[in-house]
């Protein structure tokens, strides 16, 4: 693991009793990478992300910022940002956006003036300043997702791990989100590892793709590793989404070529 490596995963496996959810996965992320974990439903994408963060019992070795996660002090944890797929809270969860952000940064920014400035800055960045005093339980899915991202970014992490971050966000929000991730990466060099079920996102923003179907199918630069064969290996023979790339203008897509009615 050289200085440029921010995350190193070696032979990572997760077992749920007799079931092996992921097996022997290894890859590395360099500083500044935007890596996307793709794979079909049940492939173990979320399991992989959770094992990396030590949220699940696992075998193998994970090093973030050069250390095993269990060795990273509470202060240093601020360098890791995490956005979960969804939070399981009661419907009328009464804590406001501002209150929860204050609690999140209290240790790093003990002075209330600093806290106020930081919170305003990040709420503004995510365009949710108007939600500051709203209870989290009252936010819509998309608003909640923006709040989760603000929370993950507010301590200026060096690496950001996101699990299906655009679930529940509308198309405009989705576009803005990808622009935002790219911008944060370019401006501040934030390394990003995100899980997505949406393969089209790979060509939009990824510098690296990690294909998982309970084991590692491929990893590397999307143009180099995402061949038709690998794609089939990942999603099965009936996979069609990526094949759209191979459609020629005016001709039926390969997947539909037997169906003249769809020309």
């Amino acid at each position: 693991m050289n200085n440029d490596t921010i995350l190193s995963v070696k032979n990572l496996s997760v077992r749920y009793q007799d079931f092996e959810a992921i097996s022997n996965i290894s890859f590395e992320l360099k500083r500044g990478d935007i890596a996307i974990i793709i794979g079909p439903n049940g492939a173990g994408k979320t399991t992989l992300l959770k094992a990396i963060l030590d949220l699940l019992p696992h075998e193998g070795e994970v090093r973030i910022l050069g250390k095993k996660i269990s060795e990273i002090s509470r202060e240093e944890r601020a360098r890791i940002g995490y956005v979960s797929q969804k939070v399981d809270i009661i419907q009328n969860f009464p804590v406001t956006v501002k209150e929860l952000l204050e609690l999140s940064i209290k240790k790093t920014y003990p002075k209330s003036k600093e806290q106020k400035m930081k919170i305003e800055q990040y709420l503004d960045l995510l365009h949710i300043s108007h939600l500051a005093n709203k209870a989290i339980g009252e936010l819509s899915g998309g608003q909640q997702q923006r709040f989760l991202i603000a929370r993950a970014l507010i301590l200026s992490p060096e690496i950001l791990l996101l699990d299906e971050p655009i679930a529940g966000i509308d198309i405009t929000g989705e576009q803005t989100f990808y622009e935002f991730i790219t911008c944060m990466n370019k401006q501040y060099g934030i390394t990003t590892l995100l899980v997505s079920h949406d393969v089209t996102v790979v060509e939009k923003i990824a510098s690296k793709v990690i294909c998982v179907n309970r084991t590692l199918i491929c990893e590397g630069k999307p143009d180099e590793v995402l061949s038709e064969e690998k794609f089939e290996e990942l999603y099965g023979r009936e996979a069609s989404v990526y094949k759209h790339k191979f459609c020629k203008e005016g001709e039926p897509c390969e997947f539909y070529k037997d169906r003249g009615d769809l020309k």
Binding site: K50, D54, S73, S84, N92, V95, L103, A135
Partner: protein, 260 residues
């Protein structure tokens, strides 16, 4: 000193109203309402052990509830069953053991009903000092775990990633909840104590706009419910525990009308 017992009842009522209402907010946010109900019922076995080995039943109830309460999180982690199912197994099993053990206690057991339904007016000066001591310990513990517990109530995974020791915090929370529930058993009894924990917080969430207000309203409702309930029971000559529970239930219904 006809008012001595009444004064003690008021002091214990205020303490218990405050503690239950405070922890109750977290119990609701963490979806642990059934857990607090279980802790109270598990205490019955502890009370029975106390009667059998001739120690203060409240002390044995506390010990037993804490031990069984601590077993619940690892059991949940290790089994494929949901929290509700695990508690649904532990609660009746513990009560069954408690009832069987009580059968071995020889002679008349006048105190038993007071543990089941509470008897705040029978709180002795010694009880008062024990409750005061436990309350001070609970408040100190609450102060230290407040921020982390709030973060954990929102997202346990996030709490773990930020370095909060969720496992230990869960144990501390169970310890705190057990302490507060046991303190309050003397007031409303094993059967009704979870109402003191759940209802003020639920009523507060109906009307509060943020976390701060939720805690303030919950504590006010908890204390008000205890005071009105005790006074009503004294003047109307009705049982104190049910009188307190009915009072906070009425407050809860009123908050439904003002729901945001």
């Amino acid at each position: 000193m006809i008012y001595g017992f009444f004064l003690r009842a008021i002091v214990v009522g205020v303490i218990s109203g405050f503690l239950c209402a405070f922890i109750g907010v977290f119990v609701i946010l963490r979806k642990m309402a059934f857990f607090s109900h279980a802790i109270a019922h598990i205490a019955l076995t502890g009370v029975a052990i106390g009667f059998l080995v001739n120690v203060n039943p409240l002390a044995s109830a506390l010990g037993f509830s804490v031990v069984v309460g601590m077993l619940i999180p690892p059991l949940i982690e290790k089994s494929r069953l949901s929290v509700d199912t695990i508690i649904g197994i532990l609660l009746p099993s513990s009560m069954a053991i408690g009832v069987i053990l009580l059968g071995f206690v020889k002679g008349y057991k006048p105190d038993l009903l007071s543990y089941l339904f509470g008897d705040i007016l029978a709180v002795s000066s010694k009880d008062l000092y024990i409750i005061l001591g436990l309350a001070v310990f609970s408040i100190v513990l609450m102060y230290f775990i407040f921020n982390e517990t709030t973060i954990m109530s929102f997202d346990e995974d996030w709490a773990k990633v930020s370095g909060i020791r969720v496992k230990y915090l869960n144990y501390l929370f169970v310890l705190l909840l057990s302490l507060i529930v046991i303190i309050s058993i003397k007031i409303v009894g094993i059967i009704l104590v979870s109402a003191l924990v759940i209802i003020p917080g639920a009523a507060a969430i109906n009307i509060a706009k943020n976390l701060r207000e939720t805690f303030i309203y919950s504590i006010l409702i908890g204390i008000l419910g205890e005071l009105v309930g005790i006074i009503a029971s004294y003047f109307l000559n009705i049982p104190t525990g049910p009188s307190i529970v009915l009072t906070i239930s009425i407050i809860f219904i009123l908050t439904l009308r003002r729901r945001k």
